[in-house]
Amino acid sequence: MKARLLAVSLLAIMLAFLCPSAHAQTQRVFDAEGLLTAAQQADLEAKLDDISARHDFDLVVATVTSMNGKEQRVFAADYYEAKGFGADGAILAVSATTRDWGFAATGFGLTAFTDSGQEVLYDSFLSDLSDDRFYDAFVAFADACDKFLTAAEDGDPITGDSSTSGGGYNPGGYETDSPYTGYQPSYPGYQPNYPYGGGDSMSDDEKATITAGGYTVGGGVAAVVAAAVPLSWRRKLRSVRPNTTAREYVRSGSMRLDVQADDFIRRSVIATPIPKMDDDNRHHDSFMGGSSFGGGGFGGGSFSSSSGGSFTGGGGKF
């Protein structure tokens, strides 16, 4: 029985890797603030649907009146989860009322939207946002995500410094006032520069660390299975065991509770400060500070949603 359970668990793990993320929702535009016309909403919905379907990736845009005091990217992640979207996806949440924006991506989004790449992404829509051209901002966001996803699927996630990586990526004439030059809206293609055809966003050390970790975990799983199954067979050879209880001999209906008291005595509350992502903020603040949009920014790193889901993303004021 234990061996069977083990087999089912392994199968479930394998299926989890193999199954594509499901598109649990069809509505992808949630305009609580009414920033879009009906036509714009329909067009944006169609665009997001098209991109989501092509990349098997849930792309969502939301406008909200408030982010409830949460960090913008956490609010965006929570919103994404609350709407029940799939394991792979990204969301841009905007509040014109409070001038907040938050971006969060999960699943394959963790690969597609690298820390430095997110700076490129944000720059694609923040100027429109700051000018209150919300529809344009959302379209720009969708188009940029499309390119990010395509690049990542080709094994070369877009990074902010792609132009200097020497990986054959030609940033070309991206001409804005932004302080970076690594992003070209019309993605020109990619020439693989290492055997697996992957991107250059991961250093050799990181790859080696992940590989070593993978083999260690795999070796551990193999060792546990190899020991647990024969041990369960060995236990089958033993059928002589002491019986230390008398459950079979409890007289039916004989149990009677005369006293049943549950008295509250005291309570204690422990508060643990939440670590702030100062390093990431400094990095991103520096970028944001140099841009023309002003305002503080968050992000460039992985974080957890309120329910514990793994996300990457950022946010700030516009």
Binding site: M14, F17, E71, G155, P157, Y194, P195, Y196, G197, G198, M202, K207, I210, T211, G214, Y215, G218, V221, A222, A223, V225, A226, V229, P230, W233, R234, K236, L237, R238, S239, V240, R241, P242, N243, T244, T245, A246, R247, E248, Y249, V250, R251, S254, M255, R256, L257, V259, Q260, A261, D262, D263, F264, R266, R267, S268, V269, I270, A271, T272, I274
Partner: protein, 366 residues
């Protein structure tokens, strides 16, 4: 010396109790008779007499005059166990340790059993159950089933004390509930502490504790449960064709084991009524038996002694339910091979899986 022997009313041959039909059967002419019918016809009509009191309030009953006549006591030269049997059994080896039995003497003394659960499974069923016991055991040495020699199969009525008791329990617990939440600055963990009390009663019927020092206590507990609905007032006719072990551990000496089981079960049952908490720790437990009674019972057990490579292996089958137990040897070499083989096989699958994931999901790690 008189021998306890039931004669077939039809042909006069010695007849024995047949577990399959639950009747006394004549092996010669095939006639069968109800036990009660035969008992009334052949036993003296004396009423059981009360013997001196024993501990735990058990009075017990004495044998009726002439009831023990013809029952022989065989003594094991090795473990000292005393086995009661009639002439039809021809006991030669101790069912518990497989050593020779010394020729019997006239059975006398000890209390008369109150109830007996007759055998429902016969010797063939026990042998078949043992063969089935070997099946599906991957680590059982392959030659064990073939080379293992079945030395002795004996149907034995093992003496048990059946304890019936009501227990009063009062248990106090310290229990906690935990709630967690967060704001923008902190994670909060609130723990609420409760003092929980449960007090009441619980009753137990017929907890069996074997009264034989020769029968392995753990083995006898592994044979449980017995179904007492089939228990009938003791009659010597049921012993015909089987051995009966004389009790040598009295009720007073056996009650501790019953108390342990009562205590554990009552503690579990009351703990199960404390729900809705993250942790529950008993801080004071008081469980004590109230009214109680004990019966002396003979319960049916098939003992199968085997030997393999100079070592004895004993198996036992509940003669009422057919449940067979007994530890089997393990093939350590096969186990080592399985461990190595499974490690390599599972490792290979995971390596392939990892390579696929690293190629297609992580973009070529490694």
């Amino acid at each position: 010396m008189a021998i306890l022997e039931y004669k077939c009313p039809n042909c006069g041959a010695a007849i024995v109790f047949d577990a399959t039909t639950q009747k006394m059967t004549c092996p010669h002419c095939g006639s069968s008779f109800d036990v009660a019918q035969l008992q009334n016809a052949s036993e003296p009509g004396a009423e059981p007499q009360t013997s001196e009191a024993i501990d735990w309030g058990y009075k017990g009953t004495d044998w009726a005059a002439g009831e023990q006549a013809g029952m022989l006591v065989y003594t094991c030269s090795s473990c000292g166990g005393e086995v009661v049997a009639d002439q039809t059994v021809g006991a030669t080896k101790c069912p518990f340790c497989d050593n020779p039995l010394v020729v019997g003497s006239q059975f006398s003394g000890t209390l008369r059993p109150d109830v007996v659960i007759p055998f429902k499974y016969d010797k063939d069923a026990a042998v078949k159950a043992l063969a089935n016991h070997y099946k599906g055991k991957r680590l059982l040495p392959k030659v064990f089933a073939d080379q293992n020699h079945l030395d002795e199969v004996k149907g034995v009525y093992v003496p048990f004390w059946l304890f019936t008791a009501d227990a009063h329990a009062r248990v106090e617990y310290e229990a906690t509930r935990v709630r967690m939440w967060s704001d923008s600055d902190n994670n909060y963990t609130e723990t609420q502490y409760f003092h929980v009390v449960r007090e009441g009663q619980i009753g137990f019927d017929n907890i069996p504790v074997d009264g034989s020092s020769q029968a392995d206590d753990t083995m006898m507990e592994s044979l449980e449960p017995f179904r007492y609905a089939d228990a009938v007032p003791f009659q010597t006719a049921y012993l015909s064709g089987y051995l009966a072990n004389k009790y040598d551990v009295d009720a007073a000496a056996s009650v501790d084991r019953a108390n342990v089981r009562i205590w554990n079960t009552a503690a579990e049952a009351f703990r199960d009524t404390v729900q809705g908490y993250a942790t529950v720790v008993p801080v004071h437990t008081d469980i004590r038996p109230l009214s109680r009674s004990v019966q002396y019972a003979l319960l049916p057990v098939w003992l199968l002694n085997t030997s393999w490579q100079g070592k004895n292996y004993q198996f036992a089958m509940n003669g009422q339910t057919g449940k067979l137990i007994g530890d089997l040897p393990a093939d350590n070499k096969a186990m080592a091979l399985w461990i190595v083989g499974l490690f390599l096989a599972v490792g290979a699958v995971l390596v392939v899986l990892w390579l696929l994931i690293s190629t297609y999901a992580l973009g070529g790690v490694g």
